[in-house]
Symmetry: C2
């Protein structure tokens, strides 16, 4: 089955290919093509089931009407929701989204960037991995619009949209203290990424203000360890520190592992321990008891990052770097 091209339409409609191209792209009127010809061309295109070749037009115009979205893990509900909103927003302005997961692997992230570059995407929305700064510099050098989300590099001149992580954990920690908790632990990962540091700092500062900060009450998990390994570390940590009466998990996968740890240990929530986790998740709503969370403003982040990207794409030179913080929401459930 041969592909139908504008040439076929031109022949069939007995006009030139330029005329066909103008009509197909809705520029018929602007080019003062007669309504009769416009109608004719449209009918023929319809009849032959013409489908324009995106590839040819991309090659010609240098535009692909597509953006690349690189997240940490598309099967994590937070990123899946984010991707869904970004895709919808992009569709509204007739853009396609190519999305892919880094698995928190620097080498893979760089490959993905290269592969999206080859696919000629017009802009990038990225949750960078720890050592991706240089790769992002490359994108900037290539004049590619970039917006970072969820995290960023403190000294890099790139727009980003992230949740106000500091404020989120600061107020969650305050909330735990108001409820009477005295020995509040925190569970973080070892990544040292800025968003995780800020979350921990919010926690630390809130406790320091009350003079009850105790740095031995922090556990650092390995992102790449198996879930069982994480659960084991958690059990070890809580057994070693029986005085802990509340815990703040700095990401949903840690919270999920934590709940399994508590179940194994026979801890009851909130009688034995109060729990708050970052990032909402189905399981937190469904758990007995339901778990309080600091929910990310997913929709705000998605919409703002597309906006920033678009303004860069429209006018790269006039564009100003924006660093946007969006407030999260403390959702109080039964676990405190």
């Amino acid at each position: 089955m041969k592909r139908i091209t504008i040439k076929d339409i031109a022949t069939e409609a007995q006009v030139s290919i330029s005329t066909v191209s103008f009509v197909i792209n809705g520029k018929g009127e602007k080019m003062a093509i007669s309504p009769a010809v416009i109608k004719k061309v449209q009918e023929v295109a319809q009849k032959l089931h013409y489908r324009p070749s995106m590839i040819a037009s991309s090659l010609r115009t240098g535009k692909t009407r597509s953006i690349g979205l690189i997240v940490e893990d598309i099967s994590n509900q937070f990123f899946a929701d984010l991707a869904r909103v970004i895709e919808d927003e992009a569709k509204n302005i007739d853009y396609r989204v190519f999305y892919c997961s880094t698995g928190d692997d620097d080498a893979r992230s760089e490959e993905l960037v290269q592969s999206l570059l080859q696919a000629n995407v017009e802009g990038f929305i990225i949750t960078p991995t720890k050592n991706l700064e240089k790769t992002i510099d490359l994108l900037l050098k290539l004049q590619k619009p970039v917006v970072l989300i969820d995290r960023y590099f403190a000294h890099q001149k790139v727009s980003h949209v992230v949740m106000d992580n500091y404020e989120g954990s600061y107020s969650a920690t305050k909330f735990l203290m108001e409820k009477g908790c005295k020995n509040i632990a925190v569970v973080n990962n070892k990544s040292q990424m800025i968003q995780m540091k800020l979350r921990e700092k919010g926690y630390t500062d809130a406790l320091k203000e009350e003079g009850i900060y105790d740095k031995s009450l922090a556990l650092y998990l390995d992102y790449h360890a198996s879930e069982q390994r994480r659960i084991d570390s958690l059990i070890g940590f809580f057994k070693a520190n029986p005085r802990i009466d509340a815990v703040l998990f700095l990401a949903n996968y840690m919270g999920l592992a934590g709940l399994q740890a508590f179940r194994n240990m026979g801890y009851r929530i909130p009688e034995n321990i109060s729990v708050i986790s970052f990032d909402d998740h189905d399981s937190f709503k469904l758990h007995t008891p339901t778990i309080s969370v600091i929910a990310q403003p997913i929709e705000d982040i998605a919409i703002k990052s597309i906006q920033l990207l678009m303004s860069q794409m429209t006018d790269f030179d006039a564009f100003k770097i924006e660093k946007v913080l969006k407030k999260g929401t403390l959702i109080v459930r039964e676990s405190v």
Copy 2:
């Protein structure tokens, strides 16, 4: 920043663009180009940071090395896991995957197919919506390789890979009966899609064999209703049928709604009611009690469907239609 093309390399290396193209594509030796020239070209390409234009080469060769994956909802864990495995498999053979969600909407599904056609993907893996049969016929007419997953149309000549849905619910129902359950309900949706019908038939047949089938013990939910509406229907149904002592949910989102319904009603699992759901989910592992499931053979399905697609892509004419059933696994947890 101007794009570097093979022309630039040719100029710099003082050879023809054909030579450059051959070297870049690893055909240097085959074309008997001297090692010195090969080396030279490679060095220049490296030095200038040459990145081939996928678009130009696609236009020329008609190949894009990409496949389209259309699932129901990428934020559902089942499809997310499936997508992840398919992406990895595709990457092994140097293919890219474009994935997108239908939201169980026929019109959107057709749009997605059209948009992937325009992007010139070389093959399709699709979880079709109810009325997508004609669109799939179109793909077949266009000689596009297609593999359906999760569900299919009984009389359409297309390869598919699905779980053995009948066997899965048949054996789950048997298992419930062995445990002494007498009034076993089933919760399905209204879609009437073949995979859902087969799941229900496995349930029905198992009960009929024992002569205890009661058709009033079936509830049909609306996929497009809000979660709260689904929960309300479930509560109404179980209140109206207090003799029910076990329930089989035919998809994970129904099971999740069911658990919330039981919590609202104060039902205890498994004392008041035994529960088995199709499709595994984090929440089922984490729930108190943990919930037994019929897990899909996700990896098997993903790998097999890529295989089938590849054999169609390699030789469309010689290819035979294959209809593959993969067995699921009953994972027994605390809910029965």
